[in-house]
Amino acid sequence: MKRLGPFSVERVLVPSGAWVLAISLGAIAAALVAAGVIFWAFGINPLRAYAIIFAGTLADRRAAPEILRQAAPLLLAGVGLVLAFRAQFWNIGAEGQLLAGAVASTGVALFSPIPAPWLLPAMFVAGFLGGALWGLLPTLLRLKLEVNEVVSTLMMNYVALFSVEWLIHGPWKGKTAFGFAYTDTFPEAARLALIPGTRVHWPTLVLGIALAGALAFFLGRARLGFEIRVLGENPTAARYAGIDPFRTILLAMAFSAGAAGLAGVGEVAGIHHKLLAPGQVSLGYGYAAIIVAWLARGNPLAAILTALFLGLIFSSGDVMKVSLQMPFRVTDVFNGLILFFLIGSERLLNYRLRWAPGDRAAETADA
């Protein structure tokens, strides 16, 4: 045990929620200070820059809803990744699973005879299955052949990307797309409702929140949730407890990849109303969702907050591009810095400051 002025520094095994929040906010603040150097290098006063960003995102009635719009796919994919990471499965493939979900739901929207009221639900089901199927191969390869899932899920992203290209340039190219690489547009019944006055497709957002809630409940109460927790935290104990890692990880990944697939449904049914170039369907949400999940530290409900936060970061990047005329890559700098400061500060979570001005005994006892 060490001392820091009048505080004593103590080790803790399970940090309190408030402490996690404090450390996380501190890390984000530190990252913003570090990012200030970038503004300064561009000849922009960092304080002014942040003021402009605030005015252009949270304080702007037209821009604020855009945060929700970007948070929706981040939340769905992020909730899925929370589960995968808890099962110690390094799913870097949410981007590809999102695209697979978009493809599956486009197939249903354009080519299925399902009648109007059931079309959207069917698209979500198809999107979930599409995403889950896309995640199935890397999962099986890891479980059966010990193929590193980081690389295989990542490679599957590229395979998904070129598959979408093939579809929109080939068999699914729309008759009304004037030669451009789009499918035909979805019928009205396949389009998600918007919050009036905004472009936020709220059903996706509701679905994300519901999924986060359900997952939190399930992890805390259900047998399988318990198994996933044990498997992630202590694989040896899991073996003794008779937990079948194959079944557990397979189910966790099916959910994880399926959730990312749902995010893809939201993008095509809520925004584009067609399938289009993969870089347009997802603006890197599958990768950013990794930050969402990591920030949430395994807590599905926290993912709601962290997805909103990442949505805010994306929106801030948009403001920087317009109001500060900065290069578009500046968003990546922010994401990278925030992620670095967050994981860098993680060690602090296992310590706690205790107000103990006269407590010298603890110090000597520890030494």
Partner: protein, 383 residues
């Protein structure tokens, strides 16, 4: 009644003062699809934006790069919040977003590049250079020794197919046995892919190159092997001063200056744009032949192009250099006395695509999917 007279005078004075207010600056916002450093499409628009700003002292501009299609409206909101009164959206994918935003801002003026939907406050514009591609093709036909010309294509969409088609027609006009070999990279921007695609074409024996990709990679790769090429979109001469024969250059600034001047003069308003469509080519100065502004053909290549003679139905026998200059003059003429896509033209499968004596319409050009004769290689969605 005196006070009334006074009031009338005051109102009149106020009315006269309005033109004085109109002398203030006009702010235009540009929505780009790529990064401005791509050295292709977006770079060219940004270059033109700067020229327009220089030429029009009353113009202020603001831009935003790398805008996703799904966020067109949100970025238009931001630009308008910054005070932009005229918005240019520079990609086909921005079409629906532009029209939706135009409905919400009925007093603002919009112009959308490469689309076909207009509204009272939305005009459309496009600078195309299939004509210049044809001229490049003529020179490529003369420059190839192996009879194989290489083309690195971005995406198999009508715009690229049209350019490749015009290029191939040019090649065949000089060298009826030559072929144009195609490789697709499925990206507007991927220098590594463009490089390997070029290398693949070189390995197959291609010895002259043209391309559609937003970097000078193909030019650089060809030059390293001592092989000639044609630039694309931006001035790329400096990347291969000895080996680049020519290329296509775009002048979006001509359109921007024309459009903005008319807006400033009050000729274009938010009510009368429904029929304003710019389809500007060589004759309007929106396209230019060359690898560097003001240099239609690299002087290093002039003698070699003059040495190759070719027969034509309308101009008799002449050198390729003279043919290029004649055709350039014909297409730059306001009457456009020559047009590459004039029938009869059969596609590479032998199907008659353009009736004898007919010219392809703008609509047909914009929807062109067929492959011109002489093109070898995959052609997705070939009719």
């Amino acid at each position: 009644m005196r006070w009334l007279t006074f009031l009338v005078v005051l109102v009149l004075a106020g009315g006269l003062a309005v033109p004085g207010i109109a002398q203030q600056k006009l702010k235009a916002g540009f929505v780009y699809v790529g990064p401005i450093g791509d050295y292709g499409w977006t770079h060219a628009h940004d270059f033109a934006r700067k020229i327009a700003e220089k030429k029009l002292p009353w113009l202020e501009t603001i831009y935003v790069e790398k805008v996703p299609e799904g966020q067109t409206e949100s970025f238009i909101d931001k630009l308008i919040l910054q005070g932009a009164r005229v918005i240019f959206t520079t990609s086909f994918g921005f079409m629906d977003g532009t029209l939706a935003a135009a409905k919400r801002y009925p007093n603002h003026i919009f112009a959308h590049a490469s689309g076909f939907k207009r509204a009272p406050n939305v005009a459309t514009y496009m600078a195309d250079f299939y004509q210049v591609y044809y001229l490049n093709g003529l020179m490529a036909g003369a420059a190839t020794k192996s009879g194989k010309v290489g083309y690195v294509g971005a995406f198999p969409i009508p715009e690229v197919k049209r350019h490749m088609g015009a290029f191939a027609l040019g090649v065949r006009a000089v060298n009826p046995k030559a072929t144009v070999h195609v490789r697709w990279i499925y990206e507007w921007f991927n220098p590594t892919a463009a490089k390997e695609a070029t290398e693949a074409l070189i390995a197959e024996g291609a010895d002259v190159f043209a391309f559609t990709e937003d970097t000078p990679t193909v030019v650089q790769v060809a030059a390293k092997r001592g092989l000639p090429s044609f630039g694309h979109y931006s001035p790329m001469h400096k990347f291969a001063p000895k080996h680049m024969i020519s290329g296509q250059l775009v002048h979006w600034d001509k359109i921007y200056v024309d459009f903005l001047s008319k807006v400033y003069a009050g000729k274009y308003t938010a009510e009368n744009l429904a029929n304003v469509d710019y389809w500007w080519l060589l004759a309007e100065g929106a396209a230019e032949l060359g690898g560097e502004f003001g240099m239609p053909v690299n002087p290093e290549w002039k003698a070699r192009l003059q040495a190759v003679k070719v027969g034509t139905p309308d101009l008799g026998r002449l050198s390729v250099y003279d043919l290029v200059m004649k055709r350039l003059a014909q297409m730059s003429d306001p009457k456009v006395t020559f047009e590459p896509f004039t029938g009869p033209i059969k596609d590479r499968k032998g199907v008659l695509r353009v009736q004898s004596g007919k010219r392809m319409t703008v609509g047909e050009l914009n929807g062109m999917e067929w492959a011109a004769p002489g093109i070898v290689g995959p052609w997705p969605k070939e009719p």
